[in-house]
Point group: C2
Chain length 144, copies 2
DNA sequence: CAAATTTCAGTTCCACTGAGATGG
DNA sequence: CCCATCTCAGTGAAACTGAAATTT
């Protein structure tokens, strides 16, 4: 055992790779004037259709307090709309606008190109295997 | 292509897994009154022997300004010592103490048990493959 | 009453930037 | 003059906590 080298620890490798991925994503988003939260919320909106802020937060795995601020920005950019829910007055129903859909398609391209850049050193089979293995870790995580 | 689902993106899976790993590590370190930076600096000290703060930072991949604060804590706990470098008065030479070595062994055990917990859902072969694939990503990263 | 939603304010952690002082 | 080192101060994103108001 060589406990002095971090480079074989799964935790270390994961942390390094994720930091790299995060940096690629953050700078790619920044180049088009967006952020990870914005993309994730737009994705959740397309998945769910018009939805409450709380359910969007659960779907995008973003804390409720952060959802408020991010949606305020998206609303200011005309990408989403908030309206009161007539059936439940606690809720505000959020829907994506036409501009929001266009923006999402644009961000999809940005994200896809980042994926490509990230896994560039791997073969097709290796990419699939990486996704499969990480999926196994994520699945267990989710069961906690 | 289904661009609306994040769950197949390597960046997303990496982020989720790394967050999980980080949480496991952080709480394991916290239980014994330590932190990731402390462990990484102690490892770097064992790798390099007595070294300047700047070189420790490069080895542990910790920003110079953060190295200062972390070493101040380690010094307060008696785990490292700082002394002026007679040959280069800009430098402070950091060395690990006997208590620091004992601490490092203890933290090695903590870290090892976290690795085990993290990759528990994978078979031995799968663990090796995950490490290999992440290593490929990390290697390219390092060449930038 | 308990629970859910929205919101604000504040905190923590990590990683970085900028600047200044010292010295090579 | 330029570069490296150490240090402090401050910034910014991500994620969270606590609390309050409203409504179910």
């Amino acid at each position: 055992m060589a406990p002095t080298r971090l480079d074989d620890f799964p935790t270390w490798l994961l942390s390094r790779s994720a930091a790299h991925a995060h940096q690629l994503l953050a700078s790619a988003f920044a180049e088009v004037g967006s952020r990870g939260y914005h993309y994730r919320l737009l994705v959740a909106l397309e998945d769910l259709g018009p939805a409450s802020q709380a359910s969007l937060g659960r779907s995008a795995e973003i804390d409720a307090s952060d959802v408020v601020a991010a949606l305020t920005q998206l609303e200011a950019d005309g990408l989403v709309e908030r309206s009161p829910d007539p059936d439940d007055k606690r809720r505000r129903i959020v829907s994506i606008t036409a501009a929001g859909r266009r923006r999402l398609l644009e961000l999809d391209r940005v994200v896809s190109s980042v994926q490509e850049k990230l896994v560039a050193p791997l073969s097709g089979a290796e990419r699939d295997e990486l996704v499969r293995l990480l999926g196994l870790l994520a699945r267990v995580e989710r069961e906690d």
